[in-house]
Symmetry: C2
Subunit: 429 residues, 2 copies
């Protein structure tokens, strides 16, 4: 066999089995989003680089994005995230939209990172945002959506947690600690990277940033203070709303959560698996009250998160919450082709059964019945039909129940009824 | 207002209304594909250029594709079509898959063409293929899927036709006409472009290709011969199968259909709108029996088509077959927030109603009830709920029917039942 041309590194093929998991996940996102009254939208997959340049943060745009010139030398980006696109779309129709706006989306994104477990260069992301409301209760609603999704996929509070903090609170705390307003954005990046660096390297990073050893110790203490949220009126209200929304078991305060993107302005949140096997965040987001004005709209607050498909699928696999046997049989009914003469009769039967609402595949050419039954088993069909010369002479069709291998003939007009009875009898065990 | 950063030329924004049409179309494709026993799959959106270089045809790869070098200087292509990816995926698992294979897919593609009505640079395409069967009946099944899709979207045989020809037949005819085997691929391109050029320009193209005036006249006669199919045993069998499959009203022979891609080897087909307002093909495909071997697999025949989303949507709009009022209301129920004190009670009520299976949005902050009712009307909600101090004292909730403006109070535990009754009462007229 010749060499097969390889796929692009960091991309994935979705064979029917993988595709059915992707569709299952998408449907869960749809179900939860819609239960909270969110509408589906989608942006283009390509955007001009200027859209990200301002606000997404240098690392994401310059180091992690696929960027290329088009034939007019505009720099085009394979979108690395959706929030800037959302802001553009809202700004374009700001006068016609009804706020608060609740929108969700699920689509492909790209980041030029080293592919590894839990990370691919081409991935899918669920985005959900509430725009036009600055209250901490709005943040609580969005976090409740995330918790409800975990619940809907069978993940328990012992499997997954949503960690919450407030950038405004942290900003004040860093100020009290003596960090200048110039030092603070970099300090957020420092805090964000604590999990990713060894303790010594992280300390060096902090001292490089200009922290004194004493400031460093106070920062460490700050990041261990689980009661810090009580000093933030916003977080107090946030947790009250989380309680009212019935998801407090999934949500807790963590002073170390600040998120990496530059545009967050208030409450931030991150979904985390409990198992040490999965260290990457499951989802992350926060409040971005200046972003709409930054892309050219009138100022309007917003809050929302993104959840990639790769890490959550790993976790659901790990916890055994992926559906064990997804129904990926292409069709429950296979019509066989007995011989050359009966080919068209078989085709006609498939058309009639489809008309009656059944999913039906037809073996496309005459072949030995044994071979066709074997094929029916392999694709997971539960019923096979035969119209040979005997059946044709009597206006009948033979029905073979592939589960118990029962076989009987019925008049053609009764076939769909009998099939429905067999299919209602339950799935193969 | 500042300038909003523009979107990339030839891309589209899907606001909730456009998104709901896209989802409706996707669901129709799913329904029809599944009724014929096809399984959903999807490939990566990026592929190495080598995958297309061999077989898709020079125009598509060199002139119409977005191609860029990655950071290791590999040439990456934003996929312009799916068939080569399908071939790669089948070749990779050829030993494990069960043939005949019936697969379908719906996803984004890119072509660097001048954006115009019916054409965008970023578009969606439905691909459906039957692999592992060389019979003309297999082609007929695929064409029946296309016809069933038109039927499922309400398009009648007077709105749309599937035109069919056979490249093998045309190859023989061109041979008889005296064209060498070197001239014939270019002659297919000539035939394919007849619709796109003025008669004089097309004649010049033919003579440039080396046709004598006499050969040109015979070619013209050939392309008018609607009985030509009777000389092809494959097409005779094809049309018999189309008849058995019950879709012959949608399908007819046209000697001018040859399709543009180089890899077709037999029967080819194209969906065409009857209205002269839409001149671009709705869908196109054909048999490609050498492609799997070309990408490195063992030889296996295949047949299938692609249908873009842009032209079909234009036609459905033109014929009035797009659903008139898609249900794009984010939620049928809005819970209002009477005042600061009742905010958490309102949030708790939304959580309870979602738990009961309803789609519920909550106004996120206290505001005048009139403003909140107006918002409920604007988002298309049909019921608004109020819990003020009076309701709270009595353990009740006030239900406002937004269709007839009726208003009444019920005990909290009965709310979901009353909402269901109102929602069952029909949609707003």
């Amino acid at each position: 066999m010749k060499n097969i041309i390889p796929s692009v590194k960091g991309t994935r093929d979705f064979y029917p089995r993988e595709m059915s998991i992707r569709t299952w996940l998408y449907n869960k996102m749809r179900q939860v989003s819609e239960s909270f009254g969110y509408q589906e939208y989608e942006g283009p997959l390509l955007e001009n680089i200027d859209l990200y340049a301002a606000k997404s943060g240098e690392e994401l745009v310059k180091e992690q994005s696929f960027v290329f010139p088009d034939r007019s030398d505009n720099l085009i980006t394979l979108r690395p995230e959706l929030t800037p696109t959302l802001m553009r779309m809202v700004a374009q129709r700001q006068g016609q939209l009804h706020f608060p706006l609740r929108w969700w989306s699920y689509g492909p994104f790209w980041r030029y990172e080293r592919p590894q477990k839990g990370r691919s260069r081409e991935f899918f992301q669920w985005n959900i945002d509430l725009i036009g409301e600055a209250s901490p209760e709005a943040d609580a609603e969005i976090v409740a959506v995330m918790a409800s999704f975990y619940k809907a996929t069978g993940l328990m509070p012992e499997d997954v947690n949503i960690l919450v903090n407030n950038r405004r609170l942290m900003d004040e705390e860093l100020n009290e600690l003596g960090l200048t307003s110039e030092q603070r954005p970099e300090a957020f990046r420092l805090i964000d990277r604590r999990d990713k660096l060894a303790p010594e390297a992280w300390r060096d990073y902090a001292l490089d940033l200009g922290l004194s050893p004493e400031q460093f110790d106070r920062l460490l203490a700050l990041l261990e203070n689980l009661e810090l949220w009580k000093e933030s009126d916003e977080l107090v209200r946030f947790f009250e709303a989380i309680d009212a929304l019935g998801v407090s078991e999934y949500v807790r305060y963590d002073p170390q959560i600040v998120r990496g993107l530059d545009y967050y302005t208030g409450i931030v949140y991150e979904g985390r698996a409990s198992t040490p096997k999965i260290r990457r965040a499951l989802a992350g987001g926060g409040r971005y009250d200046n972003l709409l004005a930054d892309v050219g709209g009138n100022p309007l607050p917003g809050t929302g998160y993104a959840m990639g498909d790769v890490v959550i699928t790993l976790l659901l696999e790990e916890t055994g919450n992926l559906p064990k046997e997804l129904d990926i049989s292409p069709a429950p009914v296979l019509v066989t082709v007995f011989d050359e003469e009966s080919l068209l009769a078989s085709y006609k039967l498939t058309a009639d059964l489809r008309e009656a609402g059944l999913k039906v595949a037809c073996y496309p050419v005459p072949a030995k019945l044994g071979k066709q039954f074997k094929y029916a088993d392999r694709i997971g069909a539960r019923v096979a039909l035969v119209i040979g010369p005997d059946e044709k002479a009597q206006g009948q069709v033979t029905i073979k129940n592939l589960l118990n291998r029962d076989q009987f003939s019925v008049p053609e007009r009764e076939v769909s009824q009998h099939i429905r009875e067999i299919l209602a009898g339950g799935k193969p065990s």
